[in-house]
Symmetry: D2
Subunit: 342 residues, 4 copies
């Protein structure tokens, strides 16, 4: 039985608490939150876990094997470093840290201590994303042309991170998981429509070596909620609508073929293919449950998680490049140059 301490019982923490408390391999042993009110709520819900107001007490408890961190982004690095330093395995909410430099130090510390460091890229563990990864890995779509995601809704505006760090981070972690290659360049545009708020709306382009283009549209001020992604390939195309109650992922046997050119120069002969549509059955298991089990399995087996510190770092490097591009009015950022410079 792996004993787990949870740091942070605000918006996301209760979900982690529930998943750890229901995981066969874990025991939710302790919860820490700076707010006495949050701690009181957690205590009512989990009477058998220790409610600990002093973080140091939790970290120095030798009974606790692993720590899950669900606190504001700016605290991820110091808390993660302290937990690893105390010899704990660490699951850390996304984004992993505020800077890629901090993420690298967390990775180093985990390596040095021989501890599991995992980032909570929850979407990677959904049935939809795992199915999409399998389809792409099996070559079902042929050559990948594009990934085009719209992730908009009304609220919740956050004061410490902008809409890119809050919403686009999901797409960046999904891209990191489903595509075989990393992007080579990034450009982005963002504006804030609420005085004093970080950016509320952003459009991001990611350029891939083979010519694929990813586009991410995120917005905190949209009249309706949309979670829709199209993935185009040379053989097939995917429409993933995460708000559908079922059949979230649809695979279309559609495409174009360039036919041998006619004599006149302007005759581009295009053949359209349009075949069946197919919606594969998806696992409906809760993503966070699967993720928590994976974290526990990795601790037990000394294995590397799918969304390890390096995945978290790659996402952070993209977030930084997006931020630089926004600050330079959408200038295209060459990621290879950036990586060499860092």
């Amino acid at each position: 039985m792996i004993k787990v301490g949870l740091i942070g019982y605000g918006y996301w923490g209760p979900n982690l608490a529930r998943c750890f408390s229901e995981a066969p391999k874990a025991q939710l042993a302790a919860v820490h939150d700076r707010s006495p009110d949050a701690l009181r709520k957690a205590g009512q819900r989990y009477p058998h876990a220790a409610m600990i107001g002093d973080l140091q007490e939790l970290l120095s408890d030798p009974e606790i094997d692993a720590v899950a961190i669900a606190t504001p982004v700016r605290t991820h690095y110091p808390l993660g470093l302290a937990a690893l330093g105390a010899g704990k395995h660490v699951l850390i909410e996304k984004p992993m840290a505020c800077t890629s430099q901090a993420a690298r130090r967390l990775i180093d510390e985990a390596d040095r201590r021989g501890r599991v460091l995992m980032v909570d890229h929850t979407f990677v563990y959904t049935g939809a994303v795992r199915k999409i990864r399998d389809l792409l890995a099996a070559g079902e779509l042929g050559e990948i042309y594009y990934y085009d995601s719209t992730r908009v809704n009304l609220g919740l505006l956050q004061h410490d991170v902008n809409v890119v760090w809050d919403l686009a981070v999901h797409d960046l972690s999904i891209l990191d998981f489903v595509l075989p290659e990393a992007p080579v360049a990034v450009s982005a545009t963002a504006v804030s429509h609420v005085p004093g708020s970080p950016e509320t709306m952003a459009f991001i382009n990611l350029f891939f070596p083979g010519g694929a283009l990813a586009h991410i549209n995120v917005n905190w001020l949209a009249p309706v909620k949309v979670r829709q992604t199209m993935i185009g390939g040379s053989r097939k195309m995917i429409l993933w609508d995460d708000l559908q109650p079922s059949e979230k992922v649809k695979v279309f046997d559609k495409g174009v073929t360039v036919l041998p050119r006619g004599e006149a120069l302007y005759e581009l002969l295009i053949g359209y293919r349009s075949g069946d549509m197919w919606a594969p059955q998806l696992s409906t298991a809760e993503a966070l449950r699967i993720e928590v089990d994976h974290f526990l399995d990795c601790i037990e087996a000394g294995a590397t998680p799918i969304t390890d510190g390096h995945a978290g770092l790659r996402v952070l490097e993209l977030l930084e490049a997006v931020t630089w591009s926004i600050h330079q009015r959408g200038r295209t950022i060459d990621l290879k140059l950036e990586r060499e410079a860092s």
Copy 2:
């Protein structure tokens, strides 16, 4: 009765022929097309119109008052100039020409001849766009924050224009009509996923003086057809889904309010408003019928059309800026500088 000659009976021409033939003020007097087959089809459909293989014959016919041009884009300028030169009123398909320089010459020629020059920005005459314009003009949305359009489908790939000139031109003409201000800068990204084809996918940002941002997502290789636009304002928000059979335009009484800030620096207090949704009744009259009647009314009254040559020129200037930005990897193009330079 205004006698109208139609030049071009390919994809769009038959629609113009039908609308002119049904308009009370017009008579479809003649049709010209270089293809004998197209001319034969037109003749079967409109036995009372003259089918003319020699363009010069049509233009020199003093009985013909007006000419509608529905030919490939590269021919718009020479045909428009010849028709105006022959003293005809001219309705010209979008985009008006290949360059802003050519558009300016058409405007000058129309002015010199005292003839009506109108550009076929069809969407401007739809019930949906006219209602949106009225709502924005009445201040219903408050300050405009953004216009975000997704206009994607599978095909038809064209060989002479890219997806921007084919699809985004609709949004540019709509923006020109519904917003009180013109954009001050543009950036755009586009790629082609079909060898030998012009760009098949593009993302465009338009920056407005007051901070509003327009975003246009166009794609010829999408698995499903989408025609969806969100317009966000400080008071209300619009969702326009042009593929809905009814209730195409929905007005949401939703938004955020920034409350007086609390003492702690990071406390951004946001109040969310969420009220009723309302879908105003829209005119279901065919846009092209309304547009053709407007063209005829302007000829009769010597008036200036809503989508006159200047509207066509403004759209062309944006198309050119978008093209420059694409060629410069998404660099932001300052439209004021461009206009001064031209």
Copy 3:
């Protein structure tokens, strides 16, 4: 070339005119309508066809091989009989006549004259219905449990037929085509919500020998248009939404299995199966074009149409039984008894 005369150029007639005029095997030779205005419109559209105000003239023209009848229901029988009597092949709009007795006389007359008699059950020739028939015939759904159709919209109220004869007739003709068996009993409920109008809303149950149940919900006073049919089987289920622009027919690999019963009497153990969903590609050819070609092929080959007079008769017998049930407050009508009595 089969020369066709069209009787009736009102709501549906223009569609028949267009399809016959475009069919390679046919020539639209003549059009008759009692309204001079309708005849004038037809003449403008089809200048090469004769516009004939006197019906007898059309029927006695030996050049005319076949007649299509698109007039109000009450005239179907006399016009059909006269056309068959004049030796013409006949395509007649649905429903075929006002009574099953009249339908039988039309069948007899066609038999006696050796002429093709076909009923315009248009839906039977759609890509969706043909695919559904193929799936059912191939046993894809297993045992058929039910057919449940909702066919509602606002208007058009008709004065000579009620909503059953106007809308439910589509489902009855589809059922006649896709199911291997005929229903054995019928019950129906209908009301009129518009004073002086025939019934505006009806609910129909059809009982099949093997236990299958068909249900039809038709309504002229619905706030939105719905054209949705579910077909449940022991192995798979179909959702047919005819208003979808594509993927109209979806096949769900879903169902229940009764597991061996547990010891306690009330333990009914049900296993749910839920697999992939699949939307087969459908022919997008216009149904009426296919139907008209089929009519012409049958004339040429002396063959029996899919929707021949007997199909029209079977649908009429159901319409009569539905009407009787409505008049008797929903009493279940035994169709075998009715057939024996007739």
Copy 4:
């Protein structure tokens, strides 16, 4: 503080437990379930409540003021009677009992003891149904023409009640709440498509004094989940889609008007009205929370709940009439006669 004992911690009980534990006026004092496993789960979740294996112990505890019953239907009557007999206020799951006779005895017992008897018609407390009731009560729709509900999905098949008692009971309780009049007659058809299972599919008609017709379509074997209700009126129409994430209730300003009749007998002149659509904001408060608070308020004030025993009885009388009609092949049951006979 009202001390509440919960009987039954199976499918629905945990929801009641949560709502009572969060209600300011209540304390979840005790839970009873025959299954030790269910009791163990409840104990982990609510450590401060007594877990009681012996029902009699719970009922005879004088500290307990009220009892909520969430057990199989056949036990509602004996448990309800015992709880009232022990002087407890009672909230009982729907349907209230197996027979109207039993329901009447529960009402009598509650009256005799002066205790609150409430039936858990949850839908009555949703924002959607309360808004619909308000709209109808305010005359917004004009004269009510029909209520047409489709409530279908795959599973959960139940062994002790059929699909009418499981799903249609919701519509019957909604109708009881939103319409000013009770139905005067009922007819229904139902079949089972799973051997050994109660009916899995049913169609119900309810006839109202003024000519309104309600129709209910329930099915446990549908390929997709549908929760859609149309309500037609002489002035406006409602579409309620309970699966929409927002804008669940849409009010359409649509209808028909009969114009003065023309001279010919068959000219029924209908005018169609089609205006705006409007989706009023709905309360998003959880229905069960509101219902539980209402139960507690009624206990405190000695008031009669909206869904009191009489509402439960009226629904049961309809369920019985539906059942009789099903057994008599859809015969129309006259409810007045039935009430007089009972």
